[in-house]
């Protein structure tokens, strides 16, 4: 699949010399949902704003559909849409005017049929004549999405799309995002809800302190970095860890009946077979076995902690 977005060595300093982005390199494939994860202040929004032309970056190049976004800003911006993190809307304007205004800004001829279809798709049609100030937070978020889609972009940036919305609306938003992607829109979303990235994305990048520290397919990332824990429940409690069992680094629960043993999926060998054999040799009978895999959230926390420790060391 071809790259719709190519970011090469992008660096951005703010006026107070704060380095917001440092040598960022990233390629986004056409048709994917890409999640950009990072803690607050990591540079997620700055990166998106740089791509969309909202802030200037200092060095490097950004290409959309193989066209430089600075030299060919008219062509590249026409196919790009952005949903900002904050609910930035003109409170005294109606939903209808707001969305049509956005379409006009992006150089598109008025198309009331398309806007009607879009508002219906986002469950906003019955609110079209309402002023923005009369809408709930969730509705405002939908208006922002409608505005971003008003000019039919091919590449959509969602900056924290479900920040401060309730669980039900979050699920609704996820459905909207999935539907858009199914219709052919490439989506890049920033989030610090790992659950969101896990639910929606094909690939994930982790950004910290302005640097991309990891890019991978979500499933591979979970598999590669993910630790698994096997929990073995015994009929009788473990009295003493000695002999065969002393070589394993497992933990016991309060009843001394459940053994938790962590191993990495990526390693060539695991010692699960040996552990089970040794338990059998020592006369323990197994009641139940189950495994738990680390979530993207745990991986994310681990990565950020490692990166922060490295930054402190340097």
């Amino acid at each position: 699949m071809k790259n719709i977005l190519e970011i090469n060595n992008v660096t951005k300093f703010y006026k107070n010399s704060v380095k917001a982005l440092e040598n960022v390199n990233l390629n986004i494939k056409e048709g994917e949902i890409f999640a950009l994860l990072g803690p607050n202040g990591a540079g997620k929004s700055t990166l998106i704003n740089s791509i969309c032309g909202i802030v200037n970056f200092n060095t490097g190049t950004i290409k959309i559909n193989n066209m430089d976004i600075v030299k060919n800003y008219r062509t590249t911006r026409k196919i790009t849409g952005i949903v900002p993190q904050e609910l930035n809307l003109e409170s005294f304007e109606t939903v209808w005017n707001n969305v049509n205004y956005s379409r006009g800004l992006f150089g598109k001829k008025p198309d009331h049929n398309y806007i009607e279809k879009l508002l219906k798709q986002l469950s906003l049609w019955d609110k079209k004549d309402n002023k923005i100030k009369e809408l709930s937070g969730g509705m405002k978020r939908r208006v922002l999405i409608a505005k971003a889609l008003s000019h039919q972009p091919k590449l959509l940036f969602l900056d924290e799309p479900t920040a401060s919305v309730d669980v039900e609306l979050r699920k609704d938003m996820w459905d909207v995002v999935k539907k858009l992607n199914k219709d052919g829109v490439t989506i890049i979303l920033t989030t610090h809800y790992i659950e969101e990235a896990e639910e929606l994305s094909d690939r994930v990048a982790v950004i910290n302190d302005g640097k991309i520290i990891l890019v991978d397919e979500k499933d591979k990332l979970i598999k590669k970095l993910g630790e698994k824990t096997i929990k073995i429940e015994l009929f009788e409690s473990v009295k003493k860890i000695n002999g065969n069992l002393s070589k394993y680094n497992f933990t016991l629960d309060q009843t001394n009946k459940i053994i938790s043993h962590t191993y990495n999926l990526n390693s060539n060998t695991t010692d699960i077979t040996e552990l089970l054999n040794d338990l059998k040799k020592d006369g323990y009978k197994i009641k139940d076995i189950n495994t738990e895999q680390s979530s993207l959230e745990e991986i994310f926390i681990k990565l950020i902690q490692e990166n922060n420790n490295e930054l402190v060391r340097n």
Binding site: C52, Y101, L105, F106, G107, K147
Partner: protein, 253 residues
Amino acid sequence: MNWYGIKAIYIHEMERFRRTLFQSLASPIITTSLYFVVFGSAIGSRITEIDGINYGSYIVPGMIMLTILTQSISNASFAFYFPRFTNTIYEILAAPLSSFEIVLGFVGAAASKSLIIGCVIILTANFFVDVRIDHPLLMMFFLILTSITFALFGFIIGMYAEGFEGLQIIPILIITPLVFLGGSFYSINMLPEFWQKISLLNPVLYLISGFRYSFYEVSDVSLLTSTLTILTILIGCIIFITYTFSKGYRIKD
């Protein structure tokens, strides 16, 4: 050119004017009427004529210029500062619009509003005094050029202002005094020689003088000087805006 984009900004701004039409028109009409009552009646009873023109009629071009200048500046500065304040500017910056097109949309709308108000004031003035326009085309030329120039100036204020208070400082502290001291309500020939020379340093004097010429064929300075002055301010504003946009200063920081 992104004509749809320019049109979107223009219509969006004019829509705001329509929503607040009463406030937008009531304020200049009331102010003009008050000027006629205070200056026209009170002072006019003592100064009957200037350069052979009835005093009430003489001050009409100055009053229009005062309103055009302040309205152009406040309309454009507010129009551009407001999306900065509400952060809705993100979509203007993300749109396929050049800086020229953005300025054209905002300044075009601000200048149009001022022109409408200017025309309303001419009509209002007719209720109080006889208004004669000897050179209507020249009058329109000055009116349009001044509206555009000071809308550009207002746009600069909108780009640099850090708060709503900032939008008011230059109009209140600089523009209004310059208009009052620029011969809006008198001819500089009525001043002592020293103050006449000082008045010539005031660029607004040249605008009012040229504008008054288009009404009554009387002026304090030559028509050419007036035209060159307004064109110089216009070019200065364009250069300043172009430079600011090219650097992204205060907009794309």
